[in-house]
């Protein structure tokens, strides 16, 4: 699935200025403990969290994540968005709960795999 498909299927709002629409999303990951994410998330996954500190960008960049979804309507700090634009990491926002958005993401990814 591409980032463009991700945004449309999950009804996400893009907070960063732009994104590479054709960038691939191969899986998802969810946790709010950044040390845990650093140890367990994998390249090309999209990460669902409610943390909004700018360290989330550094973690995503370091691991080569496709993007970050900040769930539950949490407001994302301005510094974080600025940093994400510098690092070319798209940050999406959703009002949905982590549980809901992960469920939708899981099904969307399963569907896109069946197609190939």
């Amino acid at each position: 699935m591409t980032l463009l498909e991700l945004r449309e299927k999950l009804g996400l709002r893009l907070l960063t200025e732009k994104m590479d629409e054709n960038r691939q999303v191969e899986g998802g990951y969810a946790s709010d403990l950044l040390s845990w994410v650093m140890a367990h998330a994998k390249e090309n996954q999209v990460w669902v969290t409610i943390q909004s500190h700018q360290n989330i960008v550094a973690v995503a960049s370091l691991l080569g994540l496709s993007g970050i979804i900040v769930a539950e309507g949490v407001e994302v700090e301005e510094n974080t968005i600025k940093k994400a634009e510098e690092e070319n990491i798209p940050i999406f926002a959703t009002q949905k709960s982590i549980y809901e958005i992960c469920g939708i993401l899981y099904n969307a990814l399963a569907g896109s795999r069946e197609k190939c």
């Binding site: 709010d32 403990l33 950044l34 040390s35 845990w36 994410v37 650093m38 943390q51 500190h53 700018q54 360290n55 550094a58 973690v59 700090e77 510094n79």
Partner: protein
Amino acid sequence: MLKQYPADLHIHTCLSPCADDDMNPANILNMARLMGTKIIGICDHNSAKNVKPFQEAAKSHDILVIPGMEVESAEEVHLLVFFEDMSTMLEWQEFVYRHLPPRKNNPDFFGRQQIVDEDSNVIDEEEQMLLVAASLTVDEISQKVFDMGGMLVPAHIDRRTFSLWGQLGFIPENLRLSAIEISRNICETEARRKFSISEGITVITSSDAHRLEEMVFQKTFLYLESPSFLEVKKAFEAKEGRRVIIRE
């Protein structure tokens, strides 16, 4: 002439629901005296309502009590905050209380939140639930604390949860802080390597005592002209020869 002052800057009192009910001024100050500790920080969760009675009681003990608090940020990071005097501490406390969710403590589940007087009598119980995150980010806390002339020390950075490392993955770039606290489970050299703590940042250890018997793990020594908040601040900043030494 600089003198050595053994210090334990992170001690909970009976105000913290998770601490023993006998963590009162008489017991803590006598324990500190037995251990030779000369400077203590009283750091309860999100509250400083027991600091004053400790300061009063410490007058007969030759122990400096620094007003402190272990505040929990929105990211669930525990941060030690210190101020020079009680009036600034109370101003800070009011600010924190305004950012706590209005929820009452359940003493049966979490433990009692006892407020004491200098003679160690329980005079009140705090109703506000203290074991919660304030709606203040790490960055907001740092900025406010330094604006108010205080010191900021991220607590037990080596813990998996409730630490700057656990919650935020690593020490954020550009975050202003005074020193970093490590728990007794890790030595300074290993902590500096594991958490990439630069040489310019002072590291301290504290007991984080919730029980009297936990106050025995004291290994941080401050080299100061005299015991005072400003001298401790200089030691954290390694200014004018003042410094912090950890002995394993």
